[in-house]
Structures are given as structure tokens and as C-alpha cells.
């Protein structure tokens, strides 16, 4: 679990996860597009995310595709969120989302 928190502690890595959340199955090239990061830096961050199992990769033909892997984050949730709290948390998130959408 330490390496998950270490991997998440970096804003650039979180932004890579955001990009994979918005669109799964991106190649390194796609992930680099429009980012103020060198290709080498993106490669390094992806390696750390993959090491922490926050990113899954597969080979699809000649391409390496990257996917957000939320399983470790789910396990963190399971550790600290009790069964009966979950429904309330989902309701609160949903309320927040709706209210913020109305503002937008």
C-alpha cells in the first residue's frame, strides 16, 4: 500500500491517471500529447504507476495500451469505509456532483 500512496503523491502522476480515467487504452504518444512533460518524464511516471499497480498495460497488436487500474484504490476504500457508510457516501457524492453541475 505504501507504493500506492507514494505514486499518488505526485501531481503529474495524478494528472496522468486523470487522463486515463477520461479515456482508457491510450498509447504513450497519446498520453504525451498536449502535456508540458517530456516523453522521458511521462515514461518514468508511468513506470512508477505501473509498479504501484495503478496502471494496467496490455499489448494490442504493436501498441502498448495503458488503462487506469482502480483496484488498489478500491482496496484502500475497503479498508477504511464500513459497509453501512458506503450508501451514504455514494449519496453525498451524487448530491455534490448534481449541485456542482447546476452551477456550471
Amino acid at each position: 500500500m505504501d507504493e500506492v500512496f507514494r505514486a499518488l503523491a505526485d501531481a503529474s502522476r495524478r494528472s496522468l491517471l486523470d487522463r486515463l480515467h477520461a479515456k482508457g487504452g491510450q498509447t504513450l504518444n497519446e498520453l504525451c500529447e498536449g502535456l508540458a512533460m517530456t516523453r522521458q518524464a511521462v515514461t518514468k511516471h508511468l513506470a512508477i504507476l505501473e509498479e504501484a499497480n495503478l496502471v494496467s498495460t496490455i499489448r494490442h497488436g504493436r501498441e502498448k495500451l495503458h488503462f487506469l487500474n482502480p483496484v488498489p484504490i478500491h482496496q484502500i476504500g475497503e479498508r477504511w469505509i464500513k459497509k453501512f457508510e458506503r450508501a451514504k457516501l455514494v449519496a453525498l457524492s451524487e448530491l455534490k456532483r448534481r449541485l456542482e453541475e447546476d452551477d456550471a
Binding site: G24, I58, L65, F67, N69, V71, K83, R86
Partner: protein, 171 residues
């Protein structure tokens, strides 16, 4: 069915302190699946074209599929079609692939959910919410002997999106 036309939409990986054989058994047997998959029984006829079914606790067939690739204990691909009226007609078939690799003392299990067409985030929210719970529970079962009971129900946004497409959902 042309498997090459399918692209993975969801790819999840989990490391489990177990052996590939035990992970394979857990993924393909009712005895295990009832514990980590909300009481659902996996009934798999493990040969190409064999039936692959997930039976709900009430006895009804929830997932109705067939074995597409079978290489025990390394790789299993099945069609994973939720048995709701019109669903396959409207969304196309769903493929689920499990890849099992030894990784030192542990096993790396990768689950891929693939489709032959792009699907919306609302539709995919079901898999995105369900799989981490199923895989985490499977890991607990194999590592500790006890599965986690994680309450699971289809996300409202998925049900709404399916209904909008004219798919009849039981909830």
C-alpha cells in the same frame, strides 16, 4: 465472432498470493464464485464453445456466455453477456478475458472487458464499479479463506442509460 474486432474498454490487474491453478479454479468454479461474486455460481464447460454461465442465487441465468479461448491455467476468454432483454442486440457481445501470470511468489491476474464498438461511460460504469469489488473479494478469499461481502448493485447511471436505449432491466 471475430475476436480481433474487440477492443478492451476496461483492464484491471490484481496481485494475489496464490498459485495460477488456484486462481484458475476460483474463476471457473461455482464453489468459489458463490463466495466472492455475491452468491453467483459460475458454471463453466471448459472447452472451446462450451457454456459459460453465471447463475444468480435465485437460480436464474444472469450471464450467458460461451468459452472462446481456454488455456488453463493461463488464459480464459468468454462471452459475458448479461441476460437482459435486448441487451446483446443493442450493445453487442461483451468479451471477458482473464490472464494469469506467475509473478514471483504471487500471481498477477489481469481482467479485460472488451467490446466490438465504443460504449458510453454510463454503460461502462457497471463494469468499472463491479470488477474491483469482485477481484478484491476473490483475492481475500484465496489469501485468507474469507471473501469480503461487498454489497453490489448496478449503478443508477448505467440502468438509466440502458433504459434510454430500450433495454429492459429488471430494476
Amino acid at each position: 465472432m471475430d475476436v480481433a474486432k474487440f477492443k478492451p474498454a476496461i483492464v484491471y490487474t490484481i496481485y494475489i498470493a496464490s498459485t495460477p491453478e488456484r486462481v484458475w479454479q476460483a474463476l471457473t468454479s461455482a464453489e468459489f464464485s458463490r463466495k466472492y461474486f455475491s452468491g453467483f455460481a459460475i458454471e463453466a464447460d471448459l472447452r472451446l464453445g462450451g457454456a459459460f454461465i453465471a447463475r444468480a442465487p435465485d437460480g436464474s441465468v444472469h450471464i450467458d456466455g460461451k468459452v472462446i479461448e481456454c488455456d488453463p491455467p493461463k488464459k480464459l476468454t468468454v462471452t459475458w453477456n448479461v441476460n437482459w432483454p435486448e441487451l446483446v442486440e443493442k450493445l453487442g457481445p461483451t468479451l471477458v478475458t482473464y490472464e494469469i501470470e506467475e509473478a514471483g511468489e504471487t500471481v498477477k491476474l489481469t481482467m479485460l472487458q472488451s467490446h466490438d464498438r465504443p460504449l458510453s461511460d454510463d454503460i461502462l460504469s457497471g463494469g468499472r464499479q463491479g470488477w474491483p469489488a469482485i477481484l478484491s473479494s476473490l483475492k481475500s478469499l484465496l489469501e485468507t479463506g474469507n471473501a469480503m461481502t461487498i454489497p453490489m448493485k448496478p449503478p443508477a447511471r448505467m440502468l438509466a442509460a440502458l433504459k434510454a436505449m430500450g433495454i429492459k432491466t429488471p430494476m
